[in-house]
Every structure is written in C-alpha cells, then in structure tokens.
C-alpha cells in the first residue's frame, strides 16, 4: 500500500542550490558539420563564421548555417543543415545557456555572451545536470530556423 510522507521545507533551502549561470556545450561547429554531412570532405566558408558549403568530391552535398537566438534569457547557439535544394536536413543545438536566480534580463547582461566562441563568462559543463521539471519552449529556435530558411533557403546554390 502506497503511503505518503510529508515534508515542510523552509523556502530558503529551495533557493540555496541555484547556481548563477549555466551552459551546456553539446557539439562544436566542426563536430556538428561532420555529424550533419558525414560524407563531406570539405566545408567551404561562404560567409565568415556563419555559412559553410559541404562538399564531397567537388559536389555540393548541402549547406551548414550557424545561428543564435535568445532562449529563456540567454542565447542558444544552433545549426541548421540544409540540403542542396534548400530544405531543412537537420537542426542541432550546439550550446544552451541558462541563468538561474533571476539575473537582470538587460541588454548588457546579454551582451557579455555575444561574440564569445565558448561563452567564457559561464561555467561550461562543469556541472552537467539532468534537469527535470518545467518544460522549456523551443519556439524561439523554431522561429530562428524559419528565418534561416527564408534568408538562405533559395539563395544558396
């Protein structure tokens, strides 16, 4: 028979394990490129730090586009792999950053992460957690992918 045990928690105890900011590095750009186009022997940079053409034996096998969107508070790095015809082949999250404990959601707070290749202001993977609970919406990434498609889907050939 299932019995229930009741706990009364002081509110302060709950807050105490919050860490200031957290970042999860999943794949580097190079790893994600290889993952998206395993057959490619070369990735030609079409637009610096943003667009690459995946080539295999002189043939274009697709395009790889790096982009960032603001997630809950902080930036999410992601990559869209396009087929040679300009359709979405895959979307992969490269780095996810999250703030805990109510940092200021100001432009200056966000600015510290812009242009940093590895988000050096953050603790990266130092505390790799499996997080359960409230579901985070991926809407902003989905919108980002749509933007990438409309910007590059028909232009890259």
């Amino acid at each position: 028979m299932t019995k229930w045990v009741r706990y009364t928690l002081p509110a302060a105890a709950i807050v105490s394990i919050a860490s200031p900011a957290y970042s999860m590095q999943y794949l580097s750009i190079g790893e994600a490129q290889k993952q998206a186009f395993p057959s490619a022997s070369n990735f030609a940079e079409v637009q610096v730090g943003r667009v690459w053409k995946a080539e295999a034996g002189g043939r274009t096998v697709g395009f790889f586009i790096f982009d960032r969107v603001v997630g809950k508070h902080l930036l999410i790095d992601y990559a869209v792999a396009l087929t040679p015809g300009g359709a979405v082949h895959s979307v992969e999250i490269l780095q996810y950053r999250e703030s805990y404990g109510g940092e200021i959601r100001s432009a200056s707070w966000l600015a510290q992460f812009v242009g940093k290749t590895s988000g050096s202001a953050l603790k990266i993977n130092s505390d790799v957690r499996n997080i359960a609970g409230a579901t985070l919406s991926s809407t902003h990434v989905t919108e980002g992918v749509k933007r990438v498609l409309s910007a590059y889907g028909n232009r890259l050939r």
Binding site: L9, E31, Y78, V91, I93, Y96, G133
Partner: protein, 302 residues
C-alpha cells in the same frame, strides 16, 4: 569535447521543447549513429501525434474518425490503447478528449466558442478496431495526446539507443526523461513554484521520471499562472497541487500519471501502485508529499 571521449550528449528542438540525448560506452561513430536513430524516433512520434500538424494521425482522427474508421500507425494505436487503459483505471481523470476545453481556453488552436459537455469525457467513445483502425462513436470528439505522447517518444528513443548495443543512455524531452545503464543517474528537479531553482534531486536507474506543474510559460512570465491540465470532472484547470514528479518503469506511464496526480492528488495512490510508480507532490501550502517507495531516491535541498 575530446575525440577519445566515449560519452556524447546532443540536443535538438523537437516536440516543442529541447530534447537532450546522452549515450555512453561505445565508439563515437556508434554513439552518434545511435543518437541519430533516437532523434528520428522522437521526430516520428512528433509527426504522428502532434495536434498542430495537419497530416498527423491525431489531426486525421479529429477530422474523420467520427464518420469513418481511420487507419493509424501502430505507435499511435499503442498510445491510444495505453491512454484508454489509464482512463478507465483513473476513473476518468486521465482523458484524451478534453481537447475542446483546451481550445475553449485558448491553450490549443481551434474554435474558441462554446464546447458542449457531450464532446468531452468521451474517452469511452474512442473505439480501437482491428488492423490499427480507430473510430469515434460520437460526433465532435477531438483528442489531444499532449499528456502522454512525449513520454511515449522518450521510451521509443531509449529503445532506439538500446538497439545499438551501447552501455548506457539517457533521453530528456524538456524535463520528461528516462535512462538505462548500470549506474544510477541523479536528476535535478525544478521547483514548480520557482522554476529557476531546484527543489530536489531524484536518483533513477533503468526508470523514467516525468513532471507536471501548474502552467509555466518561461517566455511570458516567470511566475506560475493557471494550469494547462484540465480536470475532466469540472472542465476547469486543476489547482489543488502546484506540481508533481512521477517515477515509473516507463516514461509513457510516468508522463500520463503526472496529469492524474495533478487532478487527484494523494488519492491517486492505488493507481500509482498499480503502475509500480511513485510520486512527489508540491502542495499549495508549500509542503511536499512523497510516496513511501520514492522517499529513499529523493535528496531534498534542505
């Protein structure tokens, strides 16, 4: 990430959230192939069971099943069978036919006009026929598998990882997760009242963990507002429990049971026991109740 590391963690936007998959204990190429297959399984569940995709099994059922039987994928059929089993065992608390109420409240797209009571609490009007065909025996029924499909997707992804013979794996679909492997995994559970902080850690081993909270929309409000979980008896958002986390042998059961516990609270004890599940509830007064079988796996923040 070093090239010789034998553990890979990747994430993709799927099921409206971020799905994170970790695989360990094999060559990198094999781990990546396993993770690709696991993401494919989740994408397939998304395609079949989304309320929003016009070509999904769910959309086709909602459009046609009141008139004619609709053939669905075996996975959709399995989810429907599990959902109906849960419906009868929970005395109707788990109900996939509350979609019209969610539409009325603006939580799902569709007509926001009045729904009539005949269209909801109608899980018994969903008929599972031979050859994976399904029909609705009443007009106007609309189903939503949002309360169960994510857990099912996690289970299918874990199956895909297992199929590659890797040592251990973990799939986390935005907070609903399951793991397999020789070592226990500690999961940090967000506080449903203050989602930016953690409430406790729960240790799982070859098990699943799912959570539900009163509605949390990180892009519009840091605070919790009303719930997206509808009490099928009152047709109103449930409000007796602030949040719950359920541990079960499979994620499909853990996911679905969180909805029952949000509505039924501690009276869901018998149902939890039937499904070999345990639960942690955050009550409205801030107290926490944990089922006795889960107690030893929980490390509270205090």
């Amino acid at each position: 990430m070093e090239t010789d590391c034998d553990s890979i963690r990747r994430a993709r936007p799927l099921l409206g959230t971020f799905v994170e998959i970790q695989a360990s204990g094999a060559r990198r190429a094999d781990l990546n192939a396993a993770i690709d297959a696991a993401f494919d399984a989740i994408a397939k569940v998304h395609r079949l069971m989304s309320f929003h995709e016009p070509d999904s099994d769910v959309s086709r059922l909602n459009q046609f099943a009141s008139s004619d039987p609709v053939a669905v994928d075996p996975w959709t059929y399995e989810v429907l069978r599990t959902a109906m089993d849960l419906h009868s065992r929970s005395q109707g608390a788990f109900d996939i036919t509350v979609a019209p109420v969610l539409q009325g409240l603006g939580l799902l797209p569709g007509p926001a006009g009045r729904w009539d009571a005949n269209r909801v609490r109608a899980s018994d009007k969903v008929e599972l026929l031979a050859d994976h065909r399904v029909s609705f025996s009443r007009h106007g029924i609309r189903i939503d598998l949002g309360g169960i499909a994510k857990g099912f997707a996690v289970d299918r992804a874990l199956d895909a990882l297992r199929g590659f013979g890797i040592a251990s794996g973990l799939v986390n679909a935005g907070g609903d997760l399951a793991a397999f492997g020789p070592d226990p995994q500690t999961v940090s559970v967000r506080n449903p009242v203050d989602p930016q902080s953690f409430m406790c850690g729960i240790s799982i081993k070859n098990e699943a963990l799912a959570s539900s909270a009163r509605r949390f929309d990180p892009f519009h409000s840091g605070g919790t507002t009303s719930s997206a979980i509808i009490d099928p008896f009152t047709h109103k958002p449930s409000c007796s429990v602030d949040g719950t986390t359920v541990r079960a042998p499979s994620c499909v059961i853990a996911d679905a049971l969180t909805k029952v516990v949000m509505i039924a609270g501690t009276t869901a004890a018998d149902l939890l026991e039937y499904y070999q599940a345990g639960a942690l509830l955050v009550l409205q007064d801030g107290d926490i109740q944990i089922s006795s079988d889960l107690k030893d796996a929980v490390s509270l923040a205090a």
